[in-house]
């Protein structure tokens, strides 16, 4: 049975510095998941993923990651792996969280 579609965000790593990036509603790549576009339509999500896969000059390894709407702050990743990608390593503060 096909898995039910869940709302998601489109994420990748920046080509030059490898940092985690997210596709924003305006089509740019943002480093903050709260600024990411939340896809609630599977077709749109897949079309955006296909378009992202062609952007090899900017990003590496795009994929869709489950996310929750997150209220007024914007989308929040669901899985622990994506939470860590969004915030940085949890052993001590020196990843994304150190710059925020």
């Amino acid at each position: 049975m096909a898995r039910a579609f869940r709302p998601c965000i489109l994420t990748a790593n920046d080509l030059i510095d490898g940092e985690v990036v997210y596709l924003a509603p305006d089509g740019a790549w943002t480093r903050r998941p709260v600024d990411a576009r939340l896809f609630e339509d599977e077709g749109e999500a897949n079309r955006s993923l296909a378009a992202a896969e062609a952007q090899e000059d900017a990003i590496v390894g795009p994929y869709l990651a489950a996310a929750a709407p997150g209220g007024h702050l914007g989308p929040e990743p669901v899985h622990i792996r994506e939470v860590l990608r969004a915030t940085g390593p949890s052993n001590y503060c020196h990843g994304k969280q150190a710059g925020s």
């Binding site: 790593n13 030059i16 510095d17 490898g18 985690v20 000059d57 860590l84 390593p89 949890s90 994304k96």
Partner: protein, 556 residues
């Protein structure tokens, strides 16, 4: 230690120049990621969760102060001011920018280091006993062998695309500190009945999703036969190793599917041909390499300062108890610098700490440093009179944790905090266990206990050979940790046995405590270590401690 000759220098520099062009072509769009990925991996460059990661080889774990200072410089200039020493005697930089990597590789080449073959389906960094050249129990220094193998395997055209990665470890002592039996090839230096030095060769060891203790393929291999024999093993594996299924591609599966006797027969058959093909040149090279590993000029001096500090200072005494190991020269000691301060990330060292270690090596340690697969750092040659000064300097740099071999001296892979493959975090579990052990204040009473944590089944944290092994998995999106008991990475190698269902992250520390408390009750006396007690009493009492309800229910 080994010094590059003109061939080494030109080879490493040319690889850097080649990679610089490849990076430029990736950035300008001439190379796709699919084309670029194998090229970057050949040069040790991964893309992990948060950033690129550069894995730099520290061949057989040996460094000098100049190299350590350069690692510190790289950490500060191109990374976040620290490096992570790994379970395969590498150092990883977790945050380099792609465009900076060629410059980093050039900086490494300046001090005769590189990142070549730290990834990919090739012969990886050759590892060795971290007490090599210093241990009192050593038969011979394993590093000349490891260096010969490094030179032979570097860019070896026949073995650049093996079915899967290939790891070789060398031990020069009957005490196996290099986990040789968990390697694709493990070499243990031994003496035969007439006193000649040679190798016991084991193959097909490995951890990962299918853990296997290696099988002895040759009881005694004369030193002169090393390269043709190892090459024969690789040739057989290259020919019959599976390429149809990545999970069945390691040599351990090849050996299991064909049987050790049939595999041995193929190797011996091949060896009869290879033996004739090799000239004596490799032995001349080994001789030249061996000369570079000559012992330093040990000094003769009274050790009164050591004895006085030992009598006077309980903190120093604690350090000596756990962090010193007998040296081949009775006036000397091997000093292990723990990179496991309670609550810190196992294996991490700041640039500042690296410089302290480099300074101490230069001033007190005949300019030699080792990195252990247990993610600690070693000054292999310290005269005992200088140990108090070394200890004092380490205390100032927050490097004097006296816990080597104890419960808080935990091996932990980077886990999901950094690694793309991980299914759970390792480091926070290690931090929590170590912090709790400090709070309990009894880890000295608990004694020798190796806790090893992996964040996925690839087992970079060697959990299968931990006395207590912890494996982090993803269960429906939640981290869950399985516990194994009775693993052993030494000459009495054994794989740990899974105790039962996994634990939530918050329950791991209490579970480990229950295991430790059970051991303290069960041990015959203070000299019986955790592993010995486990071997004597078996799994059941530990299982009962971890799952009291289940075990009680089963008994009703």
């Amino acid at each position: 230690m080994y010094r590059y000759d003109s061939f080494d220098r030109e080879f490493v520099r040319s690889r850097v120049a080649q990679f610089r062009q490849q990076v430029e072509r990736r950035i300008d769009g001439s190379l796709t990621e699919e084309e670029f990925k194998p090229l970057r991996l050949m040069n040790g460059l991964y893309l992990q969760l948060h950033a690129y990661m550069l894995r730099v080889a520290i061949p057989y774990g040996t460094l000098d102060s100049r190299q350590m200072r350069q690692l510190a410089h790289i950490a500060e200039r191109w990374d976040k001011g620290y490096g992570h020493f790994t379970t395969r005697q590498n150092i990883q930089f977790n945050w380099p920018r792609l465009k900076d990597v060629p410059d980093i590789l050039d900086a490494l080449a300046d001090v005769e280091m590189h990142a070549i073959q730290t990834s990919g389906n090739c012969v990886r960094n050759i590892t060795a006993d971290h007490f090599a050249g210093a241990a009192a129990d050593e038969i011979a220094d394993p590093r000349p062998t490891a260096e010969l193998l490094r030179q032979w395997s570097t860019d070896h055209p026949e073995f650049a695309f093996l079915p899967r990665k290939f790891k070789i470890a060398v031990s020069g002592s009957p005490v196996d500190r290099a986990v040789t039996r968990a390697h694709d090839i493990g070499l243990r230096m031994i003496r035969n009945g007439v006193g000649e030095t040679g190798y016991e060769v084991s193959i097909g060891g490995g951890l990962g999703r299918t853990p296997v203790i290696g099988s002895v393929v040759r009881d005694f291999l004369p030193v002169a036969d090393l390269l043709p024999y190892v090459e024969s093993i690789l040739q057989v594996y290259n020919a019959i190793g599976r390429r149809d299924n990545i999970y069945k591609a390691r040599i351990k599966i090849t050996v299991r599917e064909h049987g050790i006797d049939a595999f041995r027969e193929r190797v011996e058959q091949r060896f009869r041909i290879q033996h004739k093909a090799f000239t004596s040149a490799h032995q001349a090279l080994l001789k030249r390499i061996s000369a570079m590993f000559a012992a330093p000029a040990f000094i003769e001096a009274p050790t009164g300062a050591f004895d006085a500090a030992l009598a006077r200072d309980p903190v120093f005494r604690s350090f000596v108890d756990t962090n010193l190991h007998p040296h081949r020269n009775p006036q000397y000691a091997i000093v292990t610098i723990s990179l496991k301060a309670h609550g810190a990330t196992p294996g991490d060292a700041t640039a500042e700490q690296m410089r302290v270690i480099a300074d101490l090596a230069e001033r007190y340690g005949h300019d030699e440093i080792r990195i252990s697969h247990e993610q600690n750092c070693i000054l292999p040659h310290v005269h005992k009179r200088d140990v108090p000064a070394v200890h004092a300097a380490l205390r100032e740099a927050d490097l004097a944790t006296s816990n080597v071999g104890l419960a808080s001296d935990i091996i932990a892979c980077p886990g999901m905090d950094y690694c793309n493959l991980a299914t759970a975090r390792s480091i926070p579990i290690a931090q929590d266990i170590a912090t709790r052990m400090k709070e309990r204040g009894d880890e000295r009473q608990v004694g020798d206990l190796k806790i090893k944590i992996s964040g996925c089944i690839n087992a970079c944290g060697h959990h299968h050979v931990g006395h207590i092994g912890i494996l982090g998995l993803d269960r429906a999106g939640v981290e869950n940790y399985q516990i194994t008991l009775g693993g052993d990475g030494t000459e009495t190698a054994a794989l740990g046995e899974r105790v039962g269902p996994g634990f939530a992250a918050d329950d791991v520390v209490p579970a480990v405590e229950r295991l430790i408390d059970t051991y303290l009750v069960l041990r015959s006396d203070e000299d019986e270590a955790f592993l010995a007690t486990y071997r004597r009493v078996g799994m059941q009492p530990f299982k009962a401690a971890l799952y009291p309800d289940t075990v009680l229910a089963a008994g009703r």
